[in-house]
């Protein structure tokens, strides 16, 4: 069973315990090993100087080259992310592909008051969500499912860390039965 690799690619150092928490949630959600991956490199050319944000498409392409040779890879950054048409995104993944990325930048809203634990919980949810996309899952309407759309951090806070039974069943379908997209 191919593992999920977790890679910190932020500018500053990762908050203590943050990645470990995410790693445990990924392993539990997808029932497979989740391992740390590390390297000194950082994605080049992802910063859009005009917007002052990092383009997820550049990061995802770069991850496939610089990252682990097999399995899924989730990069975590502290930089603000965007896709061209949207003002920002919490994260992005190749639907049914290998690479995913998510950011703590927008998830930190209100953390100063509520304490660092809130950021840890939010990041774990968005990490499972993006890796879920890499496993081919789309957004889910089941209340509380981690694959639900999250309009703003309030939406993130409202959902659980868990995949609902429908999404879980869909994960177990042989890949051929899932519609292949781009």
């Amino acid at each position: 069973m191919e593992p999920i690799f977790l890679w910190w690619i932020g500018e500053g150092p990762a908050q203590a315990g943050l990645l470990e928490h995410v790693r445990l949630h990924l392993a539990a959600a997808f029932q497979r090993p989740a391992l740390p991956w590390d390297g000194p490199e950082r994605p080049a050319g992802a910063l859009d100087p005009r917007r002052g944000q990092h383009a997820t498409s550049v990061i995802l392409t770069w991850l496939l080259q610089a990252g682990p040779p097999a399995g899924k890879v989730l990069a975590v950054t502290d930089q603000d992310l965007f896709i061209p048409i949207l003002t920002y995104v919490f994260g992005e993944a190749q639907l049914g592909g290998r690479a995913a990325v998510c950011s703590t930048a927008r998830l930190a809203e209100g953390v100063a008051l509520a304490g660092p634990r809130l950021l840890v919980e939010r990041l774990a949810k968005e990490a499972v969500h993006e890796v879920g996309h890499a496993f081919g899952l789309r957004h889910c309407d089941t209340l509380g499912c981690v694959m639900g759309r999250s309009p703003g951090v309030a939406g993130v806070d409202q959902k659980s860390h868990q995949l609902c039974t429908t999404c879980r069943r869909r994960l177990e379908e042989p890949p051929a039965r899932r519609p292949h997209v781009r």
């Binding site: 048409i85 949207l86 003002t87 920002y88 957004h139």
Partner: protein, 467 residues
């Protein structure tokens, strides 16, 4: 995701936008296709309908507004979202006027996109339900437009329904915009002829010779330019209903021709020898006073009596104001579905405006005002300013023309008419309001030529439905 996935077509000349937006919507559960320009998007729409079109405003060649216009022509129920980085109030308004669902200013928040798509999805589900409903109501569409709680109108419907079951000629009287054609269609739809054609001819819009050829048809070579045989509206309406609108406007020759057809049910095409027999039910309408026209010699008396078999009088909207909220509700409901725009109703101020306006154009004018409001409104509740009503109040009782004071009779007539209108034509109720007895009120009504809504004058029992 449950059920069938919604199909979205994304059109943008920039590949990076197509890819990122397409990928995002794909993850959101939609079935996404992308096109790089307007023409290829239109070709795809022609091949297969989509639920939503998301298009960029600025594109080389065909821009977003042109695409919107043509796409709506191919698929009127398409929900079109225009993306723009150059949004001005103008382009946004013209997009909405052309039938866009909404617009997004680039770049937009993920929540904004998500919510808009969810709204469209919910509305499309509603539209699918409504489509089934509309299909069922299609036959009855006419009477749907003729909704009324006014007793006068109820009496008209009652008479129309019983007339529908016969083949009698029907004459519909009423100002323009009161719904004469709608009523004619409803009569046809409720008649045993419903499966056959309903053919409408507006007699005022053609010259006498053109109208003659339009009604009776002509043979090849009957006159210059008659290159082929042409079947007229009487033949087209065979087995069905022929609606002759504005019949009070036809000239003496045609009056005679029509009289003959009505008497004999047979006619010649122009330039033809064969007698053609038709089975056609005639519904005629006019906003003129035919009796006056007969008296002045402008309209043949014998034709008048032929037409004046069942007479239905549609009251003007100002005499049945109690129907305005009801009509507005029905129209807005339908406009909301047609324009795929959430419309919840009217503000209190807007409703007040509708009720205090005099409606010279009647129901049609009301519909137009609401349609205009639905187009320009930026909120689901339509505002008074959206309606664009002329700032003009109804003349009050003390508004003498030319400075002269009105006579006591004129004031009394106007007051009785106003009270009758407020009671929807109910004489007993009006008598109570006026504090006179019914007999006195009836005699005043006769004196002033006032009628109950939908009822013929008691003093003139000569003809019409009970003849």
């Amino acid at each position: 995701m449950s059920g069938e996935r919604i199909k979205i077509l994304v059109v943008d000349d920039e590949e990076i936008v197509r890819e990122s937006l397409g990928g995002w919507l794909e993850k959101d559960g939609y079935l996404v296709e992308v096109a790089a320009d307007g023409p290829s998007a239109l070709a795809r729409l022609q091949a297969e309908p989509r639920a939503v079109l998301v298009a960029d405003l600025k594109m080389p060649g065909m821009d977003g507004l042109q695409l919107l216009e043509q796409a709506k022509r191919i698929q009127p129920d398409l929900a079109v979202v225009i993306m723009t980085a150059y949004a001005t109030v103008d382009t946004a308004v013209s997009a909405m006027k052309l039938g866009a669902y909404d617009y997004l200013m680039k770049p937009f928040d993920p929540e904004e996109l998500s919510l808009m798509m969810q709204k469209i999805t919910a509305q499309q589900a509603l539209i699918r339900e409504n489509a089934v409903l509309r299909q069922a109501l299609k036959k009855d569409q006419g009477f749907r437009d003729l909704v009324s709680r006014s007793p006068g109108m109820q009496a008209v419907f009652e008479m129309a329904r019983s007339a529908a079951r016969t083949s009698s000629t029907v004459l519909i009287l009423g100002e323009s915009g009161t719904g004469k054609e709608v009523l004619a269609r409803a009569i046809h739809a409720e008649s045993p002829r419903a499966a056959k054609a309903f053919v409408a001819v507006s007699c005022a819009s053609l010259t006498e010779s053109l109208l003659e050829s339009e009604l009776f048809g002509h043979e090849r070579g009957a006159f210059t330019g008659a290159n082929a045989r042409h079947k007229g509206k009487f033949e087209a309406a065979h087995g069905g209903t022929l609606f002759l609108d504005e019949i009070g406007d036809i000239g003496p020759k045609l009056q005679l021709d029509l009289l003959r057809v009505l008497e004999e049910r047979k006619f010649h095409r122009i330039g033809g020898n064969d007698l053609i027999e038709v089975d056609v039910r005639i519904v005629a309408a006019t906003n003129r006073d035919l009796k006056k026209a007969v008296a002045s010699g402008a309209f043949r008396e014998d034709l008048f009596y032929r037409l004046d078999v069942v007479v239905l009088s549609l009251p003007p909207l100002r005499q049945r104001k109690e129907d305005i909220p009801l009509l507005a509700e029905r129209f807005l409901e339908r406009l909301s579905v047609e324009m795929m725009k959430p419309i919840e109703g009217l503000s209190a101020e807007a409703m007040e405006g509708l009720l205090s306006y005099a409606w010279p154009g009647n129901v049609r004018e009301l519909r137009n005002a609401l349609e205009r409001a639905a187009v320009v409104a930026r909120t689901p509740v339509l505002q008074l300013s959206d309606l664009g009503l002329p700032a003009r109040a109804e003349p009050g009782p003390a508004a003498p023309a030319g400075g002269a004071l009105p006579s006591l009779d004129a004031v009394e007539r106007r007051h009785i008419a106003a009270v009758l209108s407020s009671t929807g034509g109910n004489v007993s109720q009006a008598a109570r309001v006026l504090d006179i007895d019914r007999v006195t009120l009836y005699s005043r009504m006769r004196k002033y030529g006032l009628k109950r809504d939908g009822e013929e004058d008691d003093t003139d029992p000569g003809h019409h439905q009970h003849s």
